[in-house]
Symmetry: C2
Subunit: 233 residues, 2 copies
DNA sequence: CGCGCAATTGAGTTATATCAAATACGGTGG
DNA sequence: CCACCGTATTTGATATAACTCAATTGCGCG
């Protein structure tokens, strides 16, 4: 469990410019000259569900681009229980705070099977000097993260338990490209919403009875967005 | 009520470089040449308590540096009630999202008597091209805002009502340069913590009975940080 | 088939929201 | 300076929602 496989070590990032999801990632607007400036390896890494990408307090000279799957950022409280403060999916950056040399503020843990690119801080910093486009891309990530954090408070940490679960499902559904989406464990729901595992379970169970939520395969589900939205948002 | 006074219109920002709190603000590391590049007015504005600096949805070509006082950023929920998602104090930036041309995501409302500098987006954007120091300063603001948002979730939106109030008081105390700090209304406490006004009131009243909290003048208070921390954090 | 973990369900307890009333406070005008 | 008014705060009683604890069910995997 929680093994890490390094698939490809791209010495010099020769294949970054052919990346299938390059339009989504930090390097979207880089040109050939920019890629030539990358002199440190960008590694392509896969994680199985439940792996820890990095740990709160780690001093790591990397940021991670999520290529596929879902990653949770969670903080531990002094009493030991954890609160999930953000979800990352395709195109998002994990470990932004590492860019300015600060230690990681969260545990980053995969919920799915996850593929990431591990980008050395030095690559970002050296590119920043020469490529204004990277600045814009970075600023957009900051902005998206911050606006997501605000939403997390307003939508997921406000109202009663059923409302919160409903809004979480709607959020997961919105962010999914598919017509179904990843359904977290009840424990993770609780840690995201600031409610207990049992309360999360009771809410999802009721939604299923109402036919507003239909579990499909393992960890995947579909929701009737119209009905859920009308009831709770 | 809610009047706005423009104190000084600094055509060209001639006095920015003599700003008393320049070491705290976005322009900390700018040099003479940088200041010479500022060709749009940076206005110094004062607000009385309860004024709205900008409104959710506004498309404003400005960011605001808080020079003194306390500003709350709040979002309205569809049902009409509001949730405060962040507090800004000296040196913080309000309206960061305006930099990338997006509309304001919050109402920005003063809790105190507040002084801000209103900086046109164009000033930031043109300086960004030439001064890498500004980039670093901006990135630090993004990072601080994001880390504050995470704390907001982990510390202020988790646990029971008394814990939340205690942690809010501790946070306000930490951020205060003084040995006393600004004590929000119970309604604002509720909007920050996701609890009702009455619950916020009951918690603060009990803390006062326990002598852990001592109101001083209007809106100002002192806490026994050791005792509060031992009890609730 | 049975094991282990996650999810569900239920009963009992506690905390918080709700509603209503009383009190304190600051500001205003006489 | 004092009386009054509106607002914020405090307090209490009750209803409701969430938590806690425990037991049961469901499910995937070996």
């Amino acid at each position: 469990m929680k093994t890490i496989q390094i698939e490809n070590a791209w010495r010099g990032a020769k294949r970054c410019k052919n990346c299938a999801i390059r339009h989504l990632v930090l390097f979207a607007d880089l040109d050939q000259a920019d890629f030539d400036r990358i002199h440190h390896p960008i590694d392509d890494i896969e994680f199985e569900p439940g792996s820890r990408i990095y740990r709160q307090g780690d001093d790591m000279p990397f940021v991670y681009t999520v290529r596929s799957g879902l990653v949770k950022l969670e903080q531990s409280r002094p009493n030991g229980d954890k609160r999930i403060v953000r979800l990352l999916s395709q195109g998002d950056l994990a470990g932004l705070e590492n860019l300015s040399g600060q230690v990681a503020e969260h545990d980053a843990i995969t919920m799915d099977h996850v593929k990431v690119c591990r980008i050395p801080r030095s690559v970002i910093n050296s590119l920043q000097r020469d490529t204004p486009n990277l600045h814009n891309a970075l600023m957009q990530r900051w902005q998206k993260a911050l606006s997501g954090a605000d939403n997390w408070i307003t939508r997921l940490s406000t109202g009663n338990a059923k409302e919160r679960v409903a809004r979480l499902l709607l959020l997961l559904d919105e962010n999914s490209t598919d017509d179904c989406f990843f359904l977290p464990t009840r424990e993770d729901m609780g840690a995201m919403l600031g409610i207990t595992t049992e309360s999360a379970s009771k809410a999802t169970a009721e939604f299923r009875r109402q036919q507003w939520l239909k579990p499909l395969s393992q960890n995947r589900a579909w929701i009737d967005t119209t009905k859920l939205h009308r009831q709770f948002d």
